[in-house]
Point group: C2
Chain length 430, copies 2
């Protein structure tokens, strides 16, 4: 029986889930994988406030050095999140010859490159399945499951909070703030949900996926990021009538040596499988060569879903005696790949204007769009009930982002148009 | 640079796809994985009829021993299918110290147990990703991606031919035989499609998945198997109006130490993600503990999809210098698990009777069902156009299979009922 000693840093929701899971599956893991995981030390800055009963064999501390300098610990599990002191913990653990498992998306998105290199230099494993989509094996699928494939594109619903809110708004015809309250009530949104709602959580995860799929360490600031707080129920309803569903998508595409990366609310056809990924479920949709379209979905958040990813990492890591080539392959970078800014990208748009219901208004709006080289594929004017402003919905052809911005700015200043026009990107998924 | 010598046995559609893919991705694989794959020998009984131009460095033969006894070959790829001589090839290759990759579902379904044991004894890898769902990483996901999870159930659409036919019948309102002709025309059905259509292909794949997920080597004959050739367009249409979709599902569930395994046409809610897996796409839906529901889908057939799985196996296999514990875990069996026969299983049913439209007919039918302890959840009598027999659709509650069979037999003999009643199982997926 192989025995692996673990030092766990961060005993919060996920950390305690990992301990619970290791206890529950102890015999199964011993029988099937011939390995016994021993939790030697748990470090948490408020360990004394936490319930540690039933963990008699484990040492508790608030001092990370008691984990990092303990020669008997083989694997450090970092679950505190954020950059500081997580960066120091992971770096020191690898330098001290320990394997590392982390679920820290912001750390890997910003310092993954040097950490993967350090792990390869030191001949140690660095596993991170739970950093994207919790226990859904997205990382393993890209790295190993379909190894040998290259990628044309990837499309992810990788923030459960946003997906829950958008599903709720669609299903219950409620506003963003009502859906957010419901998410908080059910424990699907943190007390400060800013990083989820403004898209940054998805951006961090997208940066990791781009590195795995395209071999490019993209800067967070090079990923165009737009959150969901400006989405109104009206637009969801108009979109539904056009057979479109709204999702916060993390998108990366590679075309002719260039990569585009963006996170924003996106309208997709209701017939595409991603459109039926609802609630807190996450999904990743890969356009792989030669395999074609691959979809992977599951619960992308929650204590036990995240713990599942960490325990899978532990089993996979401990099942390899040498550091396999796949770990080293993480250091493979495609240095020729250029990043495109959002202004260089062309997408189709859903536009909504609130305009007066008078002859000539449509021609004014389409005239300005035409001047900026924006073609319209369809126009729908919604039924009005003597309202002074009625919604006009237009779907554009592929449009340069910059042109559109300038045109919308001009249209907004027309006296016949009320309030800021709404513009939501559309994506045609195969 | 690591160099791995390959002996390929079976140079048909998939075999030539593997060679094509290795050539196309040669530089990518070298750069990223530090490995060069050299195809030393290709063996095929009709090699002389095949196009082997552009493969100058490779030796061609019709004699399997030129692969099996060549000490310089590290990995044997077996792609001939069937039991004989595939069983001998895989066995001898492992005995001669070679790693093996196979896509042979019928071999693994029937002799997997001894082959996995032989591989473990000999310290060699036996990889088989393409045996189920071609390159969709179903095998890796269960074995590694979510290692540490146990399973309550698995539900697979794992035969592309059947899924294409059922999709075609639904979409184009055509008959089974029309849809089958279309499948043949498009190359989605073999000239003899018997094993696809009668469900046996799915049964072989299900046996492999059951072993991976539940650690039980189930006998093929213990898996209840029913094909799709008796499905009529009428039933698809009636089901649609009840918000149900029809799929050939491979189902395995574990409850209280017992396992049930079956392959049959199944009605599922149109709202479930599996219902939107159409055409030649395959999908597997896992009910995992603690991860919850996981869905994996993609193209489950075709030259390059299958080649993708073989090449992923090659990369994964060659990336590990020692035989990892995960390979050995394939020999872990749960000997306490009992298999249930179809007669011991309870399912809900969709029933269709063609009955005369006269008072008292419904009560006769429901009377017989009641006598056999079969509860009805809903009855729909379809509109009639002066036809002498009209369809009566009933959805039952959970029903013992044996009771239902006896009841249907009695009902069929009623003078007011025309032809054999139709019974299709329904499955409630969470």
């Amino acid at each position: 029986m192989k025995k692996i000693s673990i030092g766990l840093i961060g005993y919060g929701v996920v950390g305690s889930g990992v301990i619970k899971l290791l206890q529950k599956k102890k015999n199964y893991i011993k029988d099937k994988f011939g390995t016994e995981f021993l939790v030697k030390t748990i470090c948490d800055r408020s360990i004394h406030k936490k319930n540690t009963s039933g963990l008699a064999a484990t040492k508790f501390t608030t001092d990370i050095d008691e984990v990092l300098h303990d020669k008997s610990i083989h694997v450090v599990i970092e679950l505190i999140g954020g950059l500081n002191p997580a960066q120091k913990i992971v770096t020191n653990a690898l330098q001290n010859g320990k394997h590392v498992i982390t679920a820290n998306k912001s750390l890997l998105a910003q310092h993954g490159k040097e950490l993967f290199q350090l792990a390869a230099e030191k001949g140690r494993h660095l596993y991170f399945e739970s950093s994207v989509g919790a226990g859904i094996p997205i990382i393993q699928t890209i790295m190993k499951g379909i190894a040998g494939n290259t990628f044309h594109g990837l499309y992810g619903i990788i923030n459960g909070t946003c997906n829950f809110i958008l599903t709720e708004m669609t299903k219950n015809r409620c506003s963003f703030s009502e859906a957010l309250s419901e998410a908080k009530k059910r424990g699907y949104a943190e007390s400060d949900p800013t990083l989820d709602i403004n898209g940054m959580d998805s951006t961090h995860k997208l940066a990791i996926l781009i590195y795995l799929a395209f071999g490019k360490f993209i800067k967070i600031n090079d990923i165009y990021t737009e959150g969901i707080s400006h989405i109104s129920h009206d637009d969801i309803e108009h979109a539904e009538s056009l057979n479109l569903s709204i999702k916060l998508l993390a998108i990366a595409k590679k075309t002719k040596g260039k990569i585009e990366a963006r996170v924003h609310p996106t309208l997709i056809s209701k017939d595409h499988p991603l459109a039926s990924i609802n609630g807190i479920f996450n999904a990743i949709y890969l356009d792989a060569d030669p395999l074609g379209d691959v979809l992977l979905s599951g619960e992308g958040a929650g204590q036990m879903a995240a713990a599942s990813g960490v325990v899978s990492d532990l089993i996979n890591l401990s099942s390899h005696e040498t550091i396999p080539q796949l770990q080293k392959s993480l250091c493979h970078e495609d240095k020729t790949l250029k990043t495109q800014t959002i202004d260089q990208i062309k997408t189709k748009f859903y536009l909504r204007f609130m305009a007066t219901d008078r002859p000539g208004v449509l021609s004014k709006i389409t005239g300005i769009l035409g001047q900026h080289d924006i073609s319209i594929n369809s126009v729908t004017q919604k039924v009005h009930n003597n309202a002074s402003f009625v919604p006009v919905i237009m779907l554009t052809d592929y449009t340069n982002e910059k042109n559109l911005r300038v045109a919308l700015d001009k249209i907004q200043r027309l006296p016949v148009v009320k309030s800021k026009p709404v513009a939501i990107r559309m994506e045609k998924l195969s």
